[in-house]
C-alpha cells in the first residue's frame, strides 16, 4: 500500500530493521556485485593492510540501509536520490555470528512534488557506520 505524502510529517519514523551479515554474506555479495577486493573475504589480507578484521563492502551496507526506505514505500522506484558517507567500516568476525547492521530512518523534510527527504542512521555494535545518509522519496 502506497504511503501518502499527506499522511507523513517531519519526524515520522520508518520501521527500523536489523540486517545480519556473516562471512558467507560477504562472499555472496562479492560474487553478485563483482567487488572481489580481498579486504571483504581474506582475513590475512585485511589484517595486513591495517584493518581490524574482514570488513563488509560499504555498498553492501548502503544496500541494506536502502531496504528500510524501499520496504516502507513498496515501489523501489520511488527513491529518486540516495546518498551516504562511509564513516566507519563494519568488521565481520569469523565466529559464526558475524555482525549486525541496525538501521533507523525518519522523515527529515517535506519537499516539493510530493517528495520527502528521509534521513538514515546505520550502526553496528553501537557505532555509526554511515553518515549524511539520506534519500529523497516520491510519495503518493
Amino acid at each position: 500500500m502506497a504511503i501518502s505524502y499527506d499522511e507523513v510529517e517531519v519526524g515520522t519514523e520508518l520501521p527500523a530493521q536489523s540486517f545480519p551479515v556473516t562471512r558467507a554474506t560477504l562472499v555472496q555479495y562479492a560474487g553478485a556485485s563483482g567487488d572481489f577486493n580481498p579486504i571483504h573475504w581474506n582475513e590475512k589480507f585485511a589484517l595486513e593492510v591495517g584493518l581490524p578484521d574482514v570488513i563488509a563492502h560499504g555498498m553492501f551496507t548502503m544496500a541494506e540501509a536502502a531496504r528500510v526506505v524501499t520496504d516502507w514505500v513498496g515501489d523501489p522506484a520511488a527513491v529518486i536520490e540516495y546518498g551516504v558517507r562511509f564513516t566507519r567500516p563494519v568488521p565481520v568476525p569469523n565466529d559464526g555470528v558475524g555482525a549486525v547492521i541496525e538501521v533507523t530512518a525518519k522523515v527529515a523534510k517535506k519537499l516539493d512534488d510530493r517528495t520527502v527527504q528521509v534521513d538514515l542512521v546505520a550502526t553496528t555494535g553501537g557505532q555509526k557506520v554511515l553518515g549524511m545518509s539520506k534519500a529523497v522519496v516520491r510519495l503518493a
Binding site: F60, Y82, F86
Partner: protein, 152 residues
C-alpha cells in the same frame, strides 16, 4: 604524491553497453537479502508500472564502478589504488534500472582535492540507456590515504 588537479573535468569515452539480465538482478537481490517482488517477479513489477523487473537502488554501482576503472587505472593520473577507500556514494535516478536495459556509462572527474595529505577524488558516472536517455547518475568519492600514514 598529490594528484594533478588539471584532470578535473576530464571525461572518458562512454563504455560499451552493459546488458542488464533478469537473473543478474535476482542474484543481486538475493545477495542483499531483499525479497521485494519488483526485483524478481515481472508481474509484480508491471503492477507497479514498470516494463519488467527492476534493479535495487544500489545495483547501478556494479556498472559505474567498472566504468570508473578507466580513471582509477589511468596511468597518467597515477592513483595508488591499494590505499583507496570509498568515502561517499550518491545516486540520482531518472528511472530505475530495468531488465533488458543496455546501459553505457560516461565517466567524468568532478573534483580532485588534497585534505590532510590525502587525495580526494570525485568521479561521476552518467548512465544512459540504448536510446541515450538518462537513467541514473552515480557520484563516487574516493580517498587515497597518504603513503606515509600508518596503521589506522
Amino acid at each position: 604524491m598529490a594528484l594533478d588537479p588539471s584532470f578535473i573535468g576530464r571525461s572518458y569515452p562512454p563504455t560499451e553497453p552493459y546488458e542488464v539480465g533478469r537473473e543478474k538482478i535476482r542474484e543481486f537481490a538475493v545477495a542483499i537479502g531483499d525479497a521485494n517482488p519488483a526485483y524478481t517477479d515481472a508481474e509484480a513489477a508491471k503492477a507497479l508500472g514498470h516494463p519488467d523487473v527492476i534493479a535495487p537502488p544500489t545495483f547501478p554501482f556494479a556498472i559505474t564502478y567498472r566504468a570508473a576503472g578507466q580513471v582509477v587505472e589511468d596511468p597518467e593520473l597515477g592513483l595508488d589504488y591499494s590505499r583507496v577507500v570509498h568515502r561517499d556514494q550518491q545516486f540520482r535516478y531518472t528511472r530505475p534500472v530495468v531488465a533488458g536495459d543496455r546501459l553505457a556509462v560516461e565517466v567524468t572527474i568532478d573534483a580532485i582535492k588534497t585534505l590532510a595529505g590525502n587525495d580526494v577524488l570525485t568521479v561521476r558516472g552518467e548512465v544512459t540507456d540504448a536510446t541515450g536517455e538518462h537513467v541514473v547518475t552515480s557520484v563516487m568519492t574516493l580517498v587515497a590515504r597518504a603513503a606515509d600514514e600508518t596503521g589506522e
